[in-house]
């Protein structure tokens, strides 16, 4: 839907597109770019407990298991933006050792194995986990992306969110509580 709207916009007034923020490129946005923007927006509608931050001004940390297209898209989207006055840092995670520092964990379709092995450590941590597979929510994830009508949609597991200690905004729930 977003893509459709965008394409129409580009046709109607291409000039304004140039002036838009980095979140949206001049080209038709890729699936990665759309997902990166969504990740950023998820964080905006999420509240972490104070214990999740070592200091009041500590940055918000987005963790990725694998380097890839999603990282560059995310870096482009975020730029120097802040969420709730916190800076955003993107971190690559190969081991679960520094998992407690993460606030958002993106689990790519190929990272499913790592996610399952870290599940024990994840359960006690207030981390917003976002995955891509159909069974991600059943495995204990909070939000999963899926494609419908060639558009990126997302689904939220209210149960998991309640357990994790991460508070998702009702506005977000109303958008992603569809299934």
């Amino acid at each position: 839907m977003f893509i459709l709207r965008k394409s129409i916009l580009i046709l109607v007034c291409g000039l304004t597109v140039v002036l838009t923020l980095g979140r949206i490129s001049a080209q038709e946005p890729t699936e990665h770019q759309v997902k990166a923007a969504m990740l950023y927006n998820f964080a905006r509608f999420t509240e972490w407990p104070a214990s999740a931050f070592p200091k009041p001004a500590s940055p918000l940390i987005f963790c990725l298991i694998q380097d890839g297209l999603i990282r560059s898209a995310l870096e482009k989207t975020i730029g120097s933006k802040k969420i709730q006055d916190r800076e955003i840092q993107i971190r690559l995670l190969s081991k679960p050792s520094r998992l407690e520092e993460c606030h958002l964990l993106f689990v790519g379709a190929g990272d499913e194995g790592d996610f399952l092995s870290w599940k024990g450590a994840l359960r006690s941590l207030p981390i917003l986990t976002v995955g891509e597979t159909d069974k991600f929510l059943r495995e204990g994830g909070l939000i999963r992306f899926y494609l419908a009508d060639n558009k990126v949609r997302f689904e939220i597991s209210k149960e998991a969110s309640q357990q994790s200690g991460v508070q998702l905004s009702s506005k977000l729930l109303s958008l992603g509580g569809g299934r």
């Binding site: 977003f2 709207r5 509608f45 958008l175």
Partner: protein, 488 residues
């Protein structure tokens, strides 16, 4: 009662107009206040609403979820005054819309700066949708002002109603309250009118209150008291004055009567010895013609002349004094006939002087016939007597009515005339302008004339210039006034 109605009316008008003007001013001010309050209320209501909607639409905008955006906007259905609401995304493209009436596709208002703007019948509200200090979109809400206006109309209607109600109350109150002022004034007015009509200064106004009107009543009553007192004093003074005048008049009448009687008696008694002197003188001249010398005869003649002049004087004096002692015997007198008789008496004198007497029409008037005869006798005789040597006297007697009851008679001659500075002198007894040698006479003629005229309630005067002639002018009432003055 016309005046009383106006004062009542004025007071009522004052009361009603004052209260209505005050209320009207208050209503106008309140109307403005209401209007601005309603506007402010609406603006603040809409702002609150916009804040809620904007807050609810952040996620929809962030995730470009048009469906949710429309849902958020559709919550405005519960606010009937909202006509249109629209969400625009970050770059100003329409994202979701709500229309109260689905058919009317409201015009897309150009997005301006954030804020509330009133238009003719619409209120436009523009608000940025913020998320983490970032503008994720814009909310536009347009509401109908008809509800506000109908509210305003209701308040205006209420004000008008209260104005009418207050006017009625003011009318009712003024109907009672005006009495406070009007009643004492009306009482004062009616009292003063009663005084003016009846001339009764013993009336008093009743004081009802200690206000200015009460003070007015007090001073009004005081004034009445003073008038009454002055009246009484004046009456007393007049009474005593009248008494004094009456006394004095009586005294004067008495002395006048005594004087007249005295003159009468004296004249009478003087005539007796005179007649003897004349008689014996005549006898002396007749008997002793031979024995008397010419000188003696001359002396006797002179004595005789003096005696007869004295007799004349006494007769004139008697006549003069009798004018006023005579009883009133006014009756119609034909002046034409009377003057004719006088002329026949004077015929010898006219022939002697070769003079002429012209008499025009003379009317019948009410008078004492004898005295009228005396009057014309004296006047015409005078005119014939004082003629210029060599010029035969021409005398004319004329008359004309100068008023409804006033007759003017003139006796004009072409004689020697007199200087008008002696005008007063000639009407006094024994006053002569000429020597006895020039013109004979006792000097009583005109005095008698004046006295007769006065007795007939008339006037006599004269115009003259030396060497041209004299005109004697008499004004007499045609009918004598009905007065019975016992004092004469």
């Amino acid at each position: 009662m016309r005046q009383s109605r106006t004062i009542k009316f004025k007071l009522m008008v004052i009361l009603i107009v004052t209260s209505l003007v005050a209320l009207f001013a208050k209503s106008v001010i309140q109307g403005f206040q209401d209007y601005s309050t309603y506007r402010d209320d609406l603006a603040s209501d809409m702002s609150t609403l916009a804040e809620v909607i904007a807050n609810n639409s952040t996620a929809a905008l962030a995730f470009s979820d048009v469906k949710t955006g429309a849902e958020v906007l559709s919550a405005l259905r519960s606010v009937p005054s909202v006509v249109t609401a629209k969400l625009y995304d970050q770059i100003g493209n329409e994202f979701a819309a709500y229309h109260r009436d689905p058919e009317t596709n409201a015009e897309t208002a150009p997005l301006g700066r954030e804020g509330v703007r009133f238009e003719k019948s619409r209120l436009n509200l523009i608000r940025n949708v913020m998320l983490d200090n970032e503008r994720v979109g814009t909310l536009f809400i347009q509401s109908d002002l008809s509800e506000m206006y109908s509210r305003f109309r209701r308040s205006l209607f209420g004000h008008a109603l209260s104005l009418i109600l207050a006017g009625l109350i003011a009318l009712l109150l003024s109907l009672r309250l005006h009495r406070l002022i009007a009643e004492p004034l009306l009482h004062l007015t009616s009292t003063s009118r009663a005084i003016a009509e009846k001339n009764d200064y013993s009336l008093r106004a009743v004081k009802e209150d200690d206000d200015e009107i009460g003070e007015l009543v007090t001073s009004f009553n005081h004034m009445l008291f003073q008038i009454q007192e002055r009246d009484a004093k004046l009456t007393r003074a007049m009474d005593s004055l009248e008494l004094r005048v009456r006394e004095r008049t009586k005294q004067l009448e008495r002395s006048n009567r005594e004087l007249q009687q005295f003159a009468n008696v004296i004249s009478h008694d003087l005539q007796e010895p005179l007649r003897k002197i004349l008689a014996f003188g005549t006898r002396l001249i007749g008997e002793g013609t031979d024995r008397l010398t010419d000188q003696q005869r001359d002396s006797l003649k002179r004595m005789q002349n003096a005696a007869s002049r004295m007799e004349q004087l006494i007769q004139d004096l008697l006549q003069f004094s009798r004018i006023s002692t005579r009883e009133h015997t006014f009756q119609p007198v034909d002046l034409a006939k009377l003057v004719h008789e006088v002329l026949s008496d004077l015929e010898v004198r006219v022939l002697d002087t070769r003079g002429k007497v012209e008499v025009s029409d003379l009317p019948v008037i009410e008078a004492d016939a004898l005295q009228m005869r005396q009057l014309f006798q004296n006047l015409i005789a005078n005119a014939l007597k004082f003629y210029r040597k060599g010029t035969p006297p021409v005398v004319s007697v004329t008359s004309r009515a100068v008023g409804p009851n006033v007759l003017e008679i003139t006796v004009q001659d072409n004689g020697i005339g007199f200087d008008e500075k002696y005008l007063e002198k000639i009407f006094k007894p024994f006053q002569r302008l000429h020597t006895r040698e020039e013109y004979e006479g006792t000097g009583m003629g005109l005095a008698i004339c004046q006295k007769i005229i006065f007795r007939h309630h008339g006037l006599i005067t004269a115009r003259s210039s030396l060497g041209v002639g004299s005109t004697f002018v008499i004004t007499l009432p045609i009918k004598q006034p009905q007065e019975e003055d016992t004092a004469e």
